[in-house]
Symmetry: C2
Subunit: 225 residues, 2 copies
DNA sequence: TGTTTCAGTGAACGTATGTCCACTATAAAC
DNA sequence: GTTTATAGTGGACATACGTTCACTGAAACA
């Protein structure tokens, strides 16, 4: 759906997507960025108008329709992009060694720092998870459920969690996800220059995860089925 | 701020608030209810218009201003009402005996059932906590922080949690609040007639709280200060 | 009783919205 | 070099919005 140039025989050497497509993708990104920017601070996605998104993107309202059928479709694209950001983080995290010592503290650190760097995407997820239009909200919930399952699979590798069945792993993963989303919301609202506040949020999240893992170590699954 | 009738000497026997005030309070409530109703399902508060709230309330737009200076003030009233609902629940819960056996399961049961009954208020809190206008969002956060502190105070009474200092109690209470808010969001989205789904959410929340308490029983506060 | 107060009305305003259309300019295809 | 496809323009439209204002009718008051 993206690189369908080069109709038949020849393979272009340097510009696989043509000047035209490149320009198109650029204003498409401008529209997405405009929405994310407007979303920062007070606003919620459902309160954004097509016109103001177009204006911030530096484009006339009618041009919007060359890229999306409406705000809802743009919202779905933001869901895709935001979760790509999140999955990229997870992929990097999984490929890194990360010694067991201080594993929790380091993971929290990594996650929250990433959330700060990709503030707009994480803010979009946090906000629209609960408040957005049906399609956007459901898409986010689906992705979040998926992420929870992946996390559950990661948790299964821990020796201490041997007694857990699938349901209980997901239960625990949900607890972790909730705690991390809560910390993310705090971080997103925090004054980024206030190192003390940021540090306190990090410590809080670390303690919460430790408590969860402490509880998990004591947990006995009731039944395998 | 409510029953300031009966100007000087006489005490009216049957109508303490006059016919007029009663009517006024009725349309005020109609406006609040209209907003809550519109908020159910897709919409977010910031996407509601003054005009449609007035229309659903069965009143002309201009009449809105007899009760609120604008949508923001109405939003603040909704915050007040919603948290009054929540505090009422907590007051009832605290005054009830609730034997230690199955305490967690019973508490979860009570809470989620209450959330279902007062669905619109809980939905408002859950949504606008993260997405609303600055004033509304901050008011909700403040109330939620207060509620977390109250819960922390309640937790301090448990014998198993003797080793906890104030910060750690709030940390644990935050975990509990996050878990319960998460379960609330699931309940609010669930098909209320699907007993299986509702039951699964209850079980999930119960397990999560149990795991938190299990972890707490192992917790050792690092320092009192 | 006559007078005052005020919640709710109906119409008007200027502005912002979503959507459509004929158009222009230019890269791509022939 | 000519033709075709299309991203972006500019203007128009019907509709919805927040806010204002003079008004009405009935409850409250004296």
């Amino acid at each position: 759906m993206r690189l369908k140039r080069t109709s038949s025989t020849e393979i272009p050497e340097t510009a696989p997507t043509g000047v035209r497509d490149e320009r198109k993708q650029r204003t498409r990104k401008a529209l997405l960025d405009a929405a994310l920017t407007l979303l920062d601070g007070e606003r919620s996605f459902s309160s954004l108008s097509l016109r103001e998104v177009a204006k911030v993107a530096g484009v006339v309202p009618a041009a919007f329709y060359r890229h999306f059928t409406g705000m809802d479709e743009l919202g779905m694209s933001l869901v895709d992009d935001s979760f790509r950001t999140l999955h990229d983080m997870m992929r990097v995290a999984r490929s890194a060694p990360l010694p067991p010592s201080n594993l929790i503290a380091r993971s929290v650190e990594t996650f929250l720092r990433y959330a700060q760097t990709h503030r707009l995407h994480f803010q979009f997820i946090a906000k629209e998870r609960v408040s957005g239009s049906s399609s956007v909200r459901l898409a986010i919930r689906k992705e979040l459920r998926l992420w929870t399952s992946e996390l559950a699979a990661d948790l299964a590798a821990f020796p201490k969690l041997k007694g857990f069945n699938g349901d209980d792993l997901r239960m625990m993963a949900g607890l972790v996800v909730n705690a991390m989303m809560g910390a993310t919301e705090l971080i997103l609202d925090a004054d980024l220059n206030d190192a003390g506040e940021v540090g306190r949020i990090h410590t809080l999240a670390q303690k919460q995860l430790m408590l969860i893992f402490l509880g998990a170590a004591q947990w006995k699954s009731k039944a395998a089925k």
